[in-house]
C-alpha cells in the first residue's frame, strides 16, 4: 500500500515536471536574469565600462531619480482613476445586461466590441478623436459652445490625461461588465423575491443583496484591472508618448525608454524588478482578500 503511494507520488512529480520546466523556462529564468542584470552597470552604449557588478547601486540611484518617482505617481493616478471609473460603469452595464429583455444577446455582443479592438488601434482612434485641428472632441466642444477655441489636448498635463483615461475606460469597461455579469447570474433570484416580499426597495436590494454577493466578482475585477492598469504601456505610448515633458509617463514606459531607447540594461532591469515587486505584492494582497471574500460569499 505504502509502496504504491510512493510510486504514485513519483509518477505525479514526473507528470508535473514538464509543466514546472516550462514555467521555469519562461517565467523564473527571465526573472532571475533580470534580477542579476539589475545588479550590474550594463550600458550598451558605453561598452568601455564593461559590465561591473554594482550591488544595489542601481536601486540606490532609483531612490534619487525624480523621473522614476514621477512615473510611479502617474501610474498610481492612472490606475486608481481608470479602475474606479471602470468598476462603476461596468456595474451599471452589468445590471442592465442582467435584465431579461428582447435583444439581450445582441447588446451583450455589442458591448464587447471595444474590448476586441487591439489596444494600439484603439489608442490611434482616440488620438484622432482628440486631434486639436480635425478631432471630433474639439468639434463637439466648440460646436456646443463649451469652449471658444479648440483645446490642444496633448500639450497640457491635465488635458493630456483626458483621452488616456477615456480610452482605457472605453476599452476595458466591457471586460469589467462581463465579469460582473457572471457574478450577478450566480445570485439566487429567490433572495430578491424574498426582499420584495419584505418590502425592500431597489436601492436597498442593490446595497444589501447585490453588492455583498458580488464581492468575489468585484475582487476578481480589481485583481485583473489594477495589475493590468499598473503595467499600462501601449495605450500611453501611442496616445501621448508620456508627454508633455514626461508628465503622463507611466513606469512601464520609463522602463521601456531606459532599456530599449537608451539601452541602459542594468538600470532598466532595476526598474523592471520594481514593477514586478509591486505587481506581485498587489497580487498577493488581492489573493488574500479574495480568499476572505470567497468565504464571506458562501456564508449565507
Amino acid at each position: 500500500m505504502r509502496r504504491s503511494n510512493d510510486s504514485d507520488a513519483r509518477l505525479a512529480r514526473l507528470l508535473v515536471a514538464p509543466a514546472v520546466g516550462v514555467i521555469a523556462l519562461v517565467a523564473i529564468f527571465p526573472l532571475g536574469w533580470t534580477l542579476w542584470e539589475s545588479l550590474h552597470r550594463h550600458d550598451l552604449r558605453l561598452p568601455w565600462l564593461g559590465q561591473p557588478f554594482v550591488g544595489l547601486g542601481n536601486y540606490a540611484r532609483l531612490l534619487h531619480d525624480a523621473r522614476f518617482w514621477g512615473a510611479l505617481g502617474h501610474t498610481a493616478f492612472f490606475t486608481i482613476v481608470s479602475v474606479a471609473l471602470e468598476l462603476v460603469l461596468g456595474l451599471i452595464f452589468a445590471l442592465a445586461m442582467n435584465r431579461t429583455y428582447r435583444g439581450r444577446g445582441v447588446v451583450r455582443v455589442a458591448v464587447l466590441v471595444p474590448w476586441a479592438i487591439p489596444t494600439v488601434v484603439a489608442a490611434l482612434l482616440w488620438r484622432f478623436l482628440f486631434d486639436s485641428q480635425a478631432g471630433i472632441a474639439n468639434a463637439l466642444l466648440v460646436g456646443s459652445g463649451i469652449v471658444d477655441h479648440p483645446v490642444v489636448w496633448f500639450v497640457h498635463t491635465a488635458t493630456a490625461w483626458v483621452p488616456v483615461i477615456l480610452a482605457d475606460v472605453w476599452k476595458t469597461t466591457p471586460f469589467v461588465a462581463l465579469l460582473l455579469l457572471a457574478g450577478l447570474q450566480n445570485i439566487d433570484p429567490a433572495l430578491y423575491e424574498a426582499a420584495e416580499v419584505d418590502g425592500a426597495g431597489a436601492w436597498r436590494q442593490l446595497t444589501r443583496i447585490t453588492i455583498p454577493l458580488l464581492k468575489p466578482a468585484i475582487l476578481l475585477v480589481l485583481i485583473f484591472r489594477t495589475l493590468d492598469a499598473f503595467r499600462v504601456f501601449d495605450l500611453i505610448y501611442v496616445l501621448t508618448g508620456g508627454g508633455p515633458g514626461t508628465s503622463t509617463e507611466p513606469i512601464a514606459l520609463y522602463a521601456f525608454n531606459t532599456l530599449l531607447q537608451n539601452l541602459r540594461f542594468g538600470y532598466g532591469a532595476a526598474i523592471s524588478v520594481v514593477i514586478f515587486a509591486i505587481t506581485f505584492g498587489l497580487a498577493l494582497l488581492y489573493i488574500k482578500g479574495l480568499g476572505a471574500g470567497g468565504a464571506a460569499g458562501t456564508e449565507p
Partner: protein, 422 residues
Amino acid sequence: MSFVFVIVLLQVIASCAGEKDTRPVITYSGSAVGSQGETVRRQIARFQKLHPEIVVRVQPSPDDATQRHQLFVQWLNAHVGDPDVLELDVIWTSEFAAAGWILPLDSYAPASSEFFPAAIEANTWDHRLYAIPWYVGVGLLYWRTDLLDHAPRSLDELVRQAEQAMRGKDGPPYGFVWQGARYEGLITTFVEYLGAFGAEIMNDEGEVVVDTPQAIEALTFMGDEIIRNHVAPPEVLTWHEEETRFAFQNGNAVFMRNWPYAYSLLSDSSRSRVAGKFAVATMPAAPGGKSTSALGGAELAINAHGEHPDIAWKLIEYLTAPEQQLERAAATGDYPTRRALYDDPRLASALAVPLDQVRSAIESAVPRPVTPIYTELSGLLQVQLHRALTGQTSPADALHEAARQMKAVIRDSGLDERGALR
C-alpha cells in the same frame, strides 16, 4: 516512389552546394525605401557590374532613425560581421567610434578637404575620421512670397512679419510652424535658436553650456512665440516634420522650419496650395548671435568586425563619388556633401531648391554636439525643453536642470569633461 523523390531532392541540394559562390560578400544596411532605396539599389547594381569579383547585398533596416539606431547598437554590440557598410545618422558617428564598432578611415586617406567642414567635423572622433558624409540636410526657413516681400533679417522681424501677415485679409492662422514635439527634431530646432542668440549646447572644450543667459533667452523666445505673440500655435509642441509641412502646404502658415526634402513636395501644384508661392532662406538671428542651420544628414561607415573592410571602403568611395551624389540629388533632393559640386551646373538643374538660397544655409550649418553619449544627452534635453515650452517649468529652471543632468551623465560615463575616453 517517395524514395526516388528524396534521392532527387538530395541531388538538387548537393548540386546547389557544389556551385557555392566563393566571391567575397559584403552587406550594406541603411534606409532602403522610397526614392532613396531605389537610388541606392541602382548604384549598388552598377558597382556590382564594375566589380564582378564581389557580391554586394542590401540589408534593409528601419527607416525610423531611432529604431535603426537601436538595431545597429544591438548588432554591433554583439560584434556581428555584417552589415559591413552602415548608413549612420550624423549624430551617431562618435558614439559608434568611441565604442570601437566602426573603423577609423585615415588608412584609406580620404579626401576630407573636398567635403563640407561641418560634416567632416561631425564625423571626427579623437582627431580621426570615422565616416564619410554621404548627404547633408540643413534646417531651412520656408517663407511665403505671396504674403511677404522679403525674408526676415532678424528674429524680431520674423515675428513682426508673421503677426502682420496673420492679421491681413485671409491671412493664414499660423505665423511660424516648427518641430516642437519631444524628439530629436526639437533639438535641431533649438540648436538654430541657440545659434541665433549666440549660444550652444556644448562649447569647443566639450563643456555643457546650455544654461547660459543667452541660451535661456533663446528658449524664452521660442516659448514666447507660442504664449505671448501667438505666432506659433501650441500644436507645434506635438508636431514633427510632416505635420509642419502639411500646415504650410495647405497655406496655413507664413513661415516653416524644415529640411530640404519638403521643397519638391511643396512645389507640386497638384497637392500643394503654396506651389510657386514660397522660397527658402536661412533662419535669421537675434542681435549678438548668428544665423544658424542645424546640420543633419547621413554618413557611411565600416563595421569594425566586418570581414572585408577594404571592399567596404571601395563601396563607400563609389557611393560618395561626385557622379553618385549628383544622381542622388536629382532623385531624392538630398544635398551632396562635396563642396565642388555646388559650382557644377548639373547640380543646379538636379536640385529643386535654388542653389544660392541653400548655399548660405549649408555654410552656416552647425553640427550637434559630437560626443559618444549624444543620444542620451539629447534625450535629457528634450524632456526639459518640452517641459519649459509646455509651461510646466520656466526656461531658466529647465535649462539649469538639463545642464545638471547632462553634466552628471558625462561625469558618470567614463569620459572626461572634454568628452574623450579617460
